[in-house]
Subunit: 411 residues, 2 copies
Amino acid sequence: MPEFLSLVSPEAALSLLFSHLHLDLRDEDTKTEQALGKVTAEDILSPQDLPEFRRSTVDGYSLIARDSHGASESLPAYLKLAGEVLMGNAPEFDLSSKECALIHTGGMLPESANAVVMLEDTQVLDAGEIEIFRSVASGENVIEIGEDVPEGGIVISKGTRLRPAEIGGLLALGITKIRTISSPKIGIISSGDEVIPPDQNPKPGEVRDINSYTLGALINELGAEVIHYGIIPDDRDDLREILRIGLQECDHIIVTAGSSASSRDLTADVMNELGDPGVLVHGVSIKPGKPTIFALAGEKVMIGLPGNPVSALVIAYILVKPIIQVYLGLKNRMTPASIPAKLIMNVPSQAGREDWIPVRLIEGEKGVFQAEPIFGRSNLIFLLAKADGLVKIPSSTTGLEAGVEVSVRLF
Amino acid sequence: MPEFLSLVSPEAALSLLFSHLHLDLRDEDTKTEQALGKVTAEDILSPQDLPEFRRSTVDGYSLIARDSHGASESLPAYLKLAGEVLMGNAPEFDLSSKECALIHTGGMLPESANAVVMLEDTQVLDAGEIEIFRSVASGENVIEIGEDVPEGGIVISKGTRLRPAEIGGLLALGITKIRTISSPKIGIISSGDEVIPPDQNPKPGEVRDINSYTLGALINELGAEVIHYGIIPDDRDDLREILRIGLQECDHIIVTAGSSASSRDLTADVMNELGDPGVLVHGVSIKPGKPTIFALAGEKVMIGLPGNPVSALVIAYILVKPIIQVYLGLKNRMTPASIPAKLIMNVPSQAGREDWIPVRLIEGEKGVFQAEPIFGRSNLIFLLAKADGLVKIPSSTTGLEAGVEVSVRLF
């Protein structure tokens, strides 16, 4: 009954899994305005120049730059007002030499105009004459055709998660539909003879299921779809049957074992029976989460997590999230999920094992954060509910001292 | 036509608005498993002790602590095996003095047991006798009743946004339904004679609407509901009518003005007509976004944003987001949205005005980030699409020098 696991480091565990995993991701059409948080399945090229016409960046007078040359407060240039460019229209006139036209921010320059002088550098005289107090260079206060994006240029590359700015940029180009990576389907199985659904009252010795919901919420947050397979007892046949169904319906399955060692061993055995190459990792040199299992049936990843809800959720953040990001097709702009902070207490650890401890962040001076470790007799999910993130104690050390700078992995 | 705005600082603008705003937030029942990202409308108390029975935190033998006292490798204690505690069940037996029982992680202790010795510190002898090589203290490797949460204790306070750990903690207590703040309804009106919908082809002088979608996406990301009122021309009666409808249907309305100064002035005039106290702020000492308007009709906030899509989105991140967070009921755990980074170029600025510049983050050594300013002739939405966040140049300086540490506000 004791476990004799052959432990590998967290990095080695992920590398081993990724070296066996060659996904062919599905993609689909998505309306751009509903694509927030989705990931692009291909490079997106601009179908046009943006802008498509020369626009003023200020309120002022469009003119031919050389007509302003030499102008100053003491020696203004005098130009004839040829008209006003109305917003949303091409100007119905052009400028001749020594002429100018009133223009608003975003307005379209008359064909011969090549610069705009700002209103505050001008004064209206009678008889349609404008006094110009400042010399402007050719191109000044003008956005040229294609200056934002040239036709055919890559505007968003494959594997980018779309944020509000990208959505706006695509719609500015009239791109109202794009190809995005389809949400992977991730199955969750909660096992353990002692586990019951949250809406039931536990008898002595029973506990309510937590893992299905913490993991489900995290997976939803990442943008993947969750399929719940409920709670099954610690029974080999039941587990094999539900995993077989899950492998057909999902891209990726997570099993949280019952908290006993025998329940964890059962999970690894059954995963080995379901396809090749089977179990790749059983045991990771990390705390919490040592009995973590990575297995592969063809191109479908199966993960066995400890039954302890804190361990399961910490491992989900540290080791499962990077796997889901591969399924999501993420290649670019992994938002930095960590912030530096100053540790305010000593934290002992054990060499040869990576420790992850929950910390609360306290805002200090100049936006520098302090990280306060949250200790507790583990196992307690409300320990994580009090925390803002996790701090790694590397396997090479026997602890971290108060005052050192640490990198806090945010939830 | 030139603007003569009376500028206030960004902080003063928000303070003035909040001093007039006394919201009575709506709340509603939500199923806990669907409450990810929602905000609690009341303190949540635990209906029970958690755990409800004394649990082992390890695999081992439960025993009466004093029976192990003095035990060591060289002088083991010998205890009689009284049985095995099955997972999910109360033990069907109790321990007498000098007895122990096999127990799994999470198992329920027999009534007289008060500690657990780990398997690795024991050995099974014949005839149901167990050799104990280590002395354990009373309570060792045991979670006591109510140690995670006592009955009646506050587990999550009002105004907390729920993450996966909180969802799991609530379900562990059998709390399957909670009161959460109802999503505020936020209306978006895009105005400007030059603006057309993204699925149309612009004629010369016209541009596609970007603001409805960038702002809509940001509002969705924050957890609020968006009502789109489409595009209206720069017309006083049209704007007044659509704002009147919006005020009836929404909690909060955002108008992005056309990009001309006259369009912006029109927005402020109309907002003043729609209720008291009317326009509170017209002009903020910030770049981009100087012509921002804050107005209030009763308890409904109206915000006027510049038409320039970059300005509108930057102001939405800096000034609109904190207002939406008030409508969301957020009080606790504002996730730190900034990370420190080293600026890698000089950035000039103008004293007396807060500047916000887009930067790209480059990961340097030891997880320390470098912030690279993204310069460009403004106005270009793809400028923001290239950026990871914004850096503030305070109004007290005339710029920041390469090498200084800055705080990057992440998107």
